[in-house]
Symmetry: C2
Subunit: 306 residues, 2 copies
């Protein structure tokens, strides 16, 4: 498909055009550089990217689905990027499937893209960043990035978000303590989901303690309880997120977060672009077993052969 046709498809909000454009970027098709350069920049600047993360079992997919439902009641067009820990070979797209199945399968204003973390050479951050831009250019004013896990690569992707919520539920025991210290660095909101089961109140209070200083500063409630399976607590959650979105817009925080995301994406593209050459070069290296010496050798070769 020609770049012009793809762009026309995006402009007319055609979901198939969105899928094709993202695939073109992932496959590094000839058209992809021109495509990315031609996207509507205002739409990209003005969209809101929400990151939703948390450990397995917290109910992220149900919460995501519930948030989509609420956004659709507000007539908003929604993009979802579901980062899937499973492999593209063995099936993949399970998070995405779950969200899709729930409520929104036939709604043309809910655009979903699954991306697998495994079985790829890298560049997930780059792909997800491109997907955000493409969805925004195709009229998605709100874009959700959902990712399972507490790992570094999830956090790298979450860095693409303007606002991030961490979803927890009672029952993770001591491991929550281990995660707590890192929470403030990545999460703007803490959602205690499944708040009707035992331990929710204690977990909320524990988390309130971490977020108290921030809440006091701007009056935005950061720790919220939901029962996503019953669609409870979602309206209040989105109200607080809206208030925070205004705040980061006015204060310039959104712009500075976008700047950092651009740097992270750029580094990711650099790695992705260099990797094929590096993997080839690696096979020609003499047999030292010291990865640091091998790396120095690779860099030297790479810089001299271009």
């Amino acid at each position: 498909m020609k770049t012009e046709d793809l762009l026309a498809g995006l402009n007319s909000h055609d979901p198939r055009a969105i899928g094709r454009a993202i695939s073109a970027v992932e496959n590094n098709d000839d058209c992809s550089a021109k495509l990315l350069a031609s996207l509507n920049r205002d739409a990209i600047d003005n969209c809101l990217v929400l990151g939703i993360t948390g450990p397995p079992g917290a109910g992220k997919s149900t919460l995501t689905s519930s948030i989509i439902k609420q956004l659709r009641e507000q007539q908003k067009r929604v993009g979802i990027i579901a980062i899937d820990p499973s492999s593209p070979i063995s099936g993949g797209a399970i998070l995405g499937d779950r969200i899709r199945m729930m409520d929104h399968a036939l709604d043309p204003d809910v655009v979903l893209r699954s991306m697998a973390t495994r079985g790829r050479l890298g560049g997930l951050c780059a792909s997800a960043g491109a997907a955000v831009r493409i969805m925004a250019a195709a009229g998605c004013g709100t874009i959700l990035i959902e990712t399972v896990g507490v790992g570094q690569s999830e956090m790298d992707i979450i860095r693409l978000a303007d606002i991030t919520m961490m979803v927890l539920a009672p029952g993770f025991g001591d491991d929550i303590q281990a995660m707590k210290a890192g929470l403030l660095e990545v999460a703007d909101f803490l959602v205690v989901n499944k708040s009707d089961i035992a331990g929710a109140e204690a977990l909320s209070m524990d988390m309130e303690h971490i977020f108290a200083a921030r809440e006091e500063e701007d009056g935005i409630k950061r720790v919220l309880q939901t029962i996503a399976s019953q669609h409870r607590g979602i309206i209040e959650l989105l109200q607080q997120i809206d208030a925070f979105a205004d705040h980061i817009n006015i204060s310039g925080i959104k712009r500075s977060r976008r700047r950092k995301a651009l740097d992270a994406e750029t580094l990711d593209w650099v790695s992705e672009m260099l990797q094929p050459d590096l993997l080839t070069l690696m096979q020609t290296l003499p047999g030292t077993n010291d990865p640091r010496l091998r790396a120095q050798e690779l860099i030297k070769i790479m810089q001299n052969t271009h």
Copy 2:
């Protein structure tokens, strides 16, 4: 401290020398290249690296501690690398602390190193790989790498392991299904911990199904039940791991895994070595907002200025 003194410390199994050597590598001290090059290569080749991963709440730290206890009863010297999702700024080292507190705080033959995933520019895989080598050279015949999470960077680190076990427990609900597809790619063993609580049997049977073909092939039981808090099931788990360790040694699988780990570490070192320059160069780039064009520009500059 001089490199010679550090090496002498490692040879005499001094735990402080291990800590200092790992720090030297992490800080990129002048001595670190020579240090890494001088490590006893046989000890590195012959050690067994066990990866322990799984979602928060599965009881990994308790299981790790229980495995250490068992290995100590066999008079083995054990190294542990605990990959901690929390930040070095806000505390860090929580996984490590938990393992340390449990049983082994005063045992000089249990050497523990915590590494934080966050708050660093990268190179976790490189650091962890160096730590494995240093611990092996200092007489740790078995080295455990424990990591929370199901993310990509955890998987990259787990790739350093000769043998990997994934720890699960009943009660993670549907998210287990999402992880299942990826399990076979990373896990040699599946440990159903907390096997005394409801749902353990069903989870085990579910997992047996995935691992059945492999079990039939080599007769090694891959799905094992433990109650780590009561030290139950650990002996059988380690027996099966020993059998598998023999198998991968004889079949050459261990060697090929080490080779892949070396490639991954090398790429990680390349990224780490290039990153400071890239971050500096990035600030001088003209104002395009397309990360791909920025990346191309960066690579061009980098290759011309050296």
